[in-house]
Symmetry: C2
Subunit: 249 residues, 2 copies
């Protein structure tokens, strides 16, 4: 019964098995009732290690999620924008710190409350689970970006996926807002701030993007950028040309 949600049948992302009257039911509805907390730019929403008591949905603004390594390095795990949620795929304690990049308004929902709601509203489960899977997918993507791509490729990938997130159609000049600093981008991409700058300058020189102030970039040649980014995320099931490596004992 309910387990069908945890084990979605092949096919569509959000399990359609128990859809019924789907329309008016999303997480938004649950969050809608909650009061909106406000945070100033630079303010922390929660910290790594805190008890993960709430799920949050951003009403407005942008957050950075990061961990600080023992030696002081900062690894940004991702950014969250209006409409997105955070805190769902943590067990027990938050596994990163969430900090406002811009002024942020967000709604909280305690796990206890969400749990209670989940019992009454059955189709809630697959929605939550879909978000968890989406996070895994994003994490795997990030692994490939960091492990395999060069500085230019990483940056192109970042821009393209930012554009994709806005929902803007692929066609022609897409303008994206990047409220975070260059340092944030660098810490996200595993590069230095200087390298990020140089790459952006190069992309500009090559006519692939236009820089409008610090926080707005126009992607002029999406196709080229996607190609630079590797395009490994899209469909295209590569023919498996594996080597018949054998076990050398």
């Amino acid at each position: 019964m309910y387990s069908s949600h945890l084990l979605p049948s092949a096919g569509s992302a959000v399990p359609s098995v128990f859809d019924g009257p789907t329309e008016p039911l999303t997480l938004d509805c649950l969050f809608a009732g909650q009061p909106a907390d406000k945070f100033a730019a630079g303010e922390g929403v929660f910290w790594e290690g805190d008890t993960a008591s709430d799920i949050c949905q951003i009403v407005e603004g942008c957050l950075r999620l990061y961990r600080i390594l023992p030696d002081g390095r900062r690894a940004i795990m991702g950014f969250r924008f209006a409409g997105e949620t955070l805190g769902l795929s943590c067990e027990g304690t938050y596994c990163y710190t969430a900090e406002a990049v811009t002024p942020v308004r967000l709604r909280r929902l305690s796990r206890a409350r969400l749990r209670a709601m989940g019992e009454e509203v059955r189709p809630l489960q697959p929605l939550l689970l879909a978000k968890v899977f989406e996070e895994i997918r994003a994490a795997r993507q990030h692994i490939i970006v960091l492990g395999q791509l060069g500085a230019e490729e990483r940056t192109a990938h970042f821009l393209v996926s930012a554009a994709r997130r806005t929902g803007a159609d692929r066609r022609r000049p897409v303008t994206i807002e990047l409220p975070m600093t260059r340092q944030d981008i660098a810490d996200y991409l595993g590069l230095t701030i200087e390298t990020v700058c140089r790459v952006l300058s190069k992309l500009k020189r090559d006519g692939l993007v236009a820089l409008e102030g610090r926080h707005r970039i126009v992607l002029l040649r999406m196709t080229n950028l996607q190609h630079l980014a590797g395009e490994f995320d899209d469909a295209e099931p590569q023919a498996p040309t594996w080597t018949p490596a054998k076990w050398p004992h």
Copy 2:
């Protein structure tokens, strides 16, 4: 009720997910009835893009999980050893190829069947979910390794976590089996085979490890290795008593 599984209350996660097979009720019981398929070294179990119809549990052997990028690069997402499962945190289609490193025996369980079982055996859900969360945790770990650590740190981290996976106690010389090739390790760590070799040679020269043949390594100085690896994963709230080193690699 069941939603409490998807939204585990703060505090303890499901006890030691990664421990060896514990008696009472685990996935092992479900897999126990299934016949064991055999695969020769180098043989594929499933391919990226295949319909993710089964969950697999490895009875014996080692698998590598990877994706091939459009330009031919191979990104190894992870390895799986005896007792571990694969295919759980995929939606619809497998998101990587699974290939035997050594001869492998594994049991399959169709999602449909697992779903059916999940209805009868209630405590099954949290077990599955725990595995999903564990994968997220591992992916985040990998992101930090690839984004922030240098070659030596990455390699040390790989060794330490391999040791941890065997369940061997932290104390004193731990011998680990690494059935995969150096190339596999390189593709997993985002390095070249030469760099992996050089790092291992250096660790040997420094007396941190001993190399016994190609596929066995003795970790002589766990503490040093852990320190090299950054130690950012364990509990240990690391008092920041250390100088804010810059960006060494």
